[in-house]
């Protein structure tokens, strides 16, 4: 190996090689960045092409839409990013609008049925009513779409929430109201019974004390307005009907 030179000239040489290395490294990283840019552009074009070609399928076919959304989330792209972030993407698909439109329809159904169900609607019923509102041309929608749209409503702070009740059924709550555990049980049973619930059922099936059953039912009736009372019940004299669990052929 060469001995490092001594004297002033050696300093110069060292400086020189440092500069060369720096230049080389800039060149290298620049070419890498260029390459990445190119790749990104290519990806963008491909994605845009994909979106444009399959736009209709994405909007119309629920299973395709689901697969697409999964793909997006696995590569960290949000197809719903509003006009401010990633606008081209939402514009390309029109999916942002689609999802917001669905959100508006969900709000519409929730608000218009609130009087009769106290602000708690079964997922199935919501799906049925929203589909009806959209008409045949709107294409099919799924539970997944509803859940996703409700998420987009969150920034509005209106308290729309998907809640699961005892037997895994989902309900959508459109009023800010806490459901306690007992009420969740009552809801689940009422759904099996077509809406009707009486103290006896809770005492018999759930081994609740009569006081606990009465308190849960009266709370739902008087405090939350989630059920109607029937004072002409043949069996028990007084029955409670959970409106969100009642099925209407409108």
């Amino acid at each position: 190996m060469h001995r490092r030179g001594v004297g002033l000239a050696a300093f110069d040489r060292q400086e020189q090689s440092k500069r060369s290395f720096a230049e080389l490294s800039t060149q290298l990283s620049k070419s890498q960045v260029d390459h990445l840019h190119a790749q990104l552009n290519q990806f963008r074009t491909a994605l845009a092409h994909f979106a444009a070609t399959h736009r209709d399928s994405i909007r119309k076919d629920p299973s395709f839409r689901h697969a697409f959304q999964q793909m997006c989330s696995s590569i960290g792209v949000d197809p719903l990013a509003g006009p401010r972030k990633g606008g081209w993407w939402a514009e390309m698909l029109g999916l942002g609008d689609w999802q917001y439109e669905l959100g508006v329809q969900i709000v519409d159904v929730c608000v218009s049925t609130r009087e009769r169900n106290g602000g708690l609607i079964e997922m199935e019923e919501l799906l049925r009513l929203v589909s009806k509102l959209r008409g045949v041309s709107g294409g099919e929608i799924t539970e997944d779409d509803i859940v996703r749209s409700i998420k987009t409503l969150q920034p509005l702070g209106v308290g729309y929430q998907v809640v699961s009740v005892a037997d895994g059924r989902k309900m959508v709550r459109s009023v800010v109201k806490e459901l306690d555990e007992d009420q969740a049980v009552v809801l689940a049973i009422a759904q099996q019974e077509g809406g009707r619930i009486v103290e006896d059922i809770l005492v018999g099936r759930k081994r609740w004390t009569r006081g606990r059953a009465r308190a849960a039912l009266e709370n739902m009736l008087l405090r939350d307005g989630l059920c109607w009372v029937d004072e002409q019940d043949e069996e028990c004299g007084k029955a409670y009907w959970v409106t969100s669990a009642m099925k209407w052929d409108v």
């Binding site: 008087l222 002409q232 052929d249």
Partner: protein, 192 residues
């Protein structure tokens, strides 16, 4: 199990809520009460219009042979509207000007406004024009019991009087005393 609409023997389509048992009970929650009562009022007025019924009495909820029994009762689920709730519904209707207690001074019987007095005034005026009876003297009985049935057939005297009073405000009617009671002369008028 789901609740559905039902067509009555008189051809009226009852809404699905009418087959829900708790519909027949007065609700303790104020919001729910308002909703359910509103649905009852809509139903009552629609049925009154369908059958051309003008009067609803609290007694109608107590007997089984009233004109109202298709609505006030649901034999299929063995429910009936209780008189106490019907009287609350009537009070609500009166407060919203959808009915008026008739005769005044009691709360057991009400005249239903499935057409308001203003609307009846127009019906009366339109009828007089189309049958060529402007400017002639008509007794109340000729209006309420015309030889050719009209929309005004069987209209209660009190309601007719209110309609005539509405027309008087725009100079389209003039009350006249006739031998066997009251009469009225209707004019073309100049519009409103």
């Amino acid at each position: 199990m789901s609740f559905s609409t039902f067509a009555t023997p008189t051809g009226f389509l009852l809404p699905s809520v009418h087959s829900a048992p708790p519909f027949f009970t007065q609700q303790p929650h104020p919001g729910t009460h308002a909703t359910v009562t509103e649905q009852w009022i809509t139903l009552i007025l629609a049925y009154a219009r369908h059958r051309k019924l003008f009067v609803l009495r609290v007694e109608d909820a107590e007997t089984t042979d009233s004109d109202w029994q298709e609505v006030l009762r649901n034999e299929r689920i063995n429910r009936r509207l209780l008189p106490s709730y019907l009287s609350v519904i009537l009070a609500t209707m009166v407060s919203k000007n959808q009915a008026t207690y008739d005769p005044p001074g009691q709360t057991r019987s009400a005249l239903l406004y499935w057409r308001s007095p203003d609307e009846w005034a127009e019906v009366l005026h339109g009828w007089a024009i189309s049958t060529g009876q402007l400017n002639t003297i008509l007794t109340f009985y000729e209006i309420a019991d015309p030889p050719v049935p009209s929309p005004l057939s069987n209209i209660p005297m009190n309601l007719l009087r209110k309609a005539i009073a509405v027309l008087a405000k725009t100079s389209r009617s003039q009350l006249i005393a006739v031998a066997d009671g009251e009469g009225v002369r209707l004019f073309q008028g100049t519009g409103k």
